[in-house]
Symmetry: C2
Subunit: 109 residues, 2 copies
Amino acid sequence: MEFRRPSYFALATLIDGPLHGYAIVQRAAELSDGDVHLSTGTLYALLERAISEGLVVAGEIYLEGGRQRRDYRLTDNGRSALQAEADRLSSAGRTVARRLRATARVAPR
Amino acid sequence: MEFRRPSYFALATLIDGPLHGYAIVQRAAELSDGDVHLSTGTLYALLERAISEGLVVAGEIYLEGGRQRRDYRLTDNGRSALQAEADRLSSAGRTVARRLRATARVAPR
DNA sequence: GAACTATAAGTCGATCAGCGACATGTAGTC
DNA sequence: GACTACATGTCGCTGATCGACTTATAGTTC
C-alpha cells in the first residue's frame, strides 16, 4: 500500500475516530500544518479506493442539525497501512537529511 | 516544490555528487531500501522537469569504457528543495506515528 | 560464434491520483 | 436577498509514474 500526501493525511484524520467528509478536509489541513488542501474531488475518490481496499468503512447517512452526513472509519488494516507509511516517510526523510548534513561542509555547492 | 517518492529519491542520489542516469536508478533503489525502482520512463521525464526547474544541470555526453554517458548534477536550489521535502516527510511521518501511538491503548480497533 | 546478461541512452502510450469547477441543498448572518 | 459556512457528491483535465519498446556496446557462457 502506498499513499500520496493527500490520501495519507486524509486517512490519518481518522486515527482519532470516525469523521465525515467535510471534517476530514478541515482536519487534514490542520494535521499537515496547512500543507494539504483536499479538494472534494480528491476526497471522495480516495475514500472509494480506501473502502474497496478495506482500509476504511463508510457509515450510514444521517442527519445532524438539518444536514446530511456520513461518517468514515479506519479499519485495523487501515491503521497498519498508515503505520507502515508513516515509517517509510520518516525513514525517507531521515535518510536524505543525514546525507545532506554529511555533505554540507565537504561540498557546499 | 513537491516530490513524489521516485523523484525524491532520484534527486537524493545526486547529493553525494553527479551521477549518470543508469547509476541514479541503481542508487535510488539502494537509498530507498529497495522501495523505489525507477523506470527509465520516469527517470528521464523527471530529469527534464528538474532541469527546467533549475534543480539539476545536465553535463555533456562522454564516453566511458566504450559506453555513452551523461552526468546530472544537483544545483543549490535542488539541494534546498530536497532539504525542504525531507523535513516535510519527517514531519508527516512523525505526526502520524505520534497519533497512532497515542490512540493505541485507548482504542485498539 | 550465438546467446545471454549487464551497462548505458532514450521514447511512447496507458494508467491513475489529484485538482478545480460545477451541481445541489440547508443553516445562519448581514 | 445576498453571502458565508456546512455538507454531499460528480466530472473532465493534467501530470507523474510505469511498463514495454528501441538502440548500442562489453563481457561471459555454452
